[in-house]
């Protein structure tokens, strides 16, 4: 009961357009009453399922700012809610009982939308050090897959980097390096290899008979991620 009350209050606050902007300028865009009414059930449901409602709210505000009609905004937000729900399920099942960060859910959903497989998303979460944010690694995984790197190999690389506790600031540099190598004529896999070599990042050891799967040690992770 209390949870429902808190959820309803949070959703009402978001719909009222009381989000605080990080910088000055024009006021935040507000949703029309019609759009608010259409979105309320979707956002209520999302909040009850512990999905990042702020991501859904942001997508709705984006549609409003871009002048999209309420029905289209509803369809886009509903589609995003579905992807977030799937991503949250994958992440929860990978490490049962551990909290799932909102940012991880959003970028895991984006990575899966870009071609990453649920098992790759789950493996990364299982093998990551406890408490590590996976928001950036999931985003990089998605970017590598979008650039044509086979999902298994992309997953192996990102998994190895996270396990090796390579700082996010280094991992972020990989997609741009891959872009450069591809523009110079390298196929995606070779481009990834060159990017790792150029950045001095560790390369995952080859696994005989594996094409990007089967490296998961499944040692699990503790909680600690909020």
């Amino acid at each position: 009961m209390l949870r429902s009350l808190v959820t309803a209050l949070a959703v009402s606050t978001l719909l009222a357009g009381n989000l605080t902007a990080q910088a000055g300028g024009s006021p935040a865009p507000r949703l029309s009453p019609e759009t608010e009414a259409l979105l309320r059930p979707v956002l209520d449901s999302a909040a009850q399922d512990s999905l990042p409602v702020s991501a859904l709210q942001s997508k709705a505000l984006e549609g409003a700012a871009k002048g999209r009609p309420p029905a289209e905004i509803l369809a886009v937000v509903r589609g995003l809610a579905g992807r977030l729900r799937q991503a949250r399920s994958v992440l929860s099942q990978a490490v049962p009982g551990a909290p799932v960060a909102a940012g991880d859910i959003v970028t895991a959903a984006e990575a899966m939308a870009g071609g990453a497989r649920p098992e790759d998303v789950a493996r990364l979460r299982k093998n990551a050090p406890p408490g590590a944010s996976l928001e950036i690694p999931y985003a990089v995984l998605g970017e590598l897959v979008r650039r044509g790197v086979p999902v298994g190999q992309a997953s192996d690389v990102v998994d190895h980097l996270v396990e090796s506790k390579v700082p996010e600031a280094r991992i972020i540099e990989i997609p741009a390096r891959v872009d450069v190598a591809i523009r110079l004529g390298a196929p995606p896999v070779a481009a990834l290899g060159r990017a790792l070599h150029g950045l001095g990042l560790p390369v995952p050891p080859p696994v005989p008979g594996s094409k990007g799967r089967g490296r998961g040690r499944g040692r699990g992770r503790g909680g600690g991620r909020g």
């Binding site: 902007a21 990080q22 300028g25 024009s26 865009p29 984006e62 549609g63 700012a65 871009k66 589609g79």
Partner: protein, 208 residues
Amino acid sequence: MKHEHELLTRYLDGELPREALPPELQAEADAFHGMFEDLKQERISAPPWVRTAVMSRVRAAPRARWRDLLGWLVTPKLVPLSPVTAMVVLAAGVAIAAAVRYQPTAPSQVAAQVQDGRVMTRFIFLAPEASSVAVTGDFVDWRKGGIPLERDPSGNGMWVGVVRLEPGVHQYVFVVNGTEWRPDPNAPALNDGYGQKNSMLLVPQIRS
């Protein structure tokens, strides 16, 4: 003698009038004129072997290809073009010009400077003809006005702004002249779900 020769040369070059010459040189000048007139009347033909020798050397000389190309390029030509083709060519030209006009020279950069846990991030966009450029995205709830960028005072057409962002993944676009929504051509792009593209920015956790 040398002086007289110079006077005659200058006369023949048109630098001196005939009256400036002494009488003896005037006679000599007249003799030259007579000879020139005679030459004009003559039709002198070279022996046949001269023509053959000259033409064989001309044919033997290598012809530079770049001269051929240059000659083709500078020679006016009449190109038949249908109106439809002309419109396609014109549209392609306009599209290329627009792409060049709005192509930034550098993607947005994340500066290793942290303030209140947020990371100072610099946005750069090249739009020499724009009257205003702003950046908007999830970090400002997609307000149309966004965060205005400032025109670089050096006059290079760049628009620059620094924004404090939370670490994580952000989506954004540039708003040109208050109406045109343009993704950053040098940043990863994502489908926004509404039929357009958003740019993606990864802001790492930086420990100060």
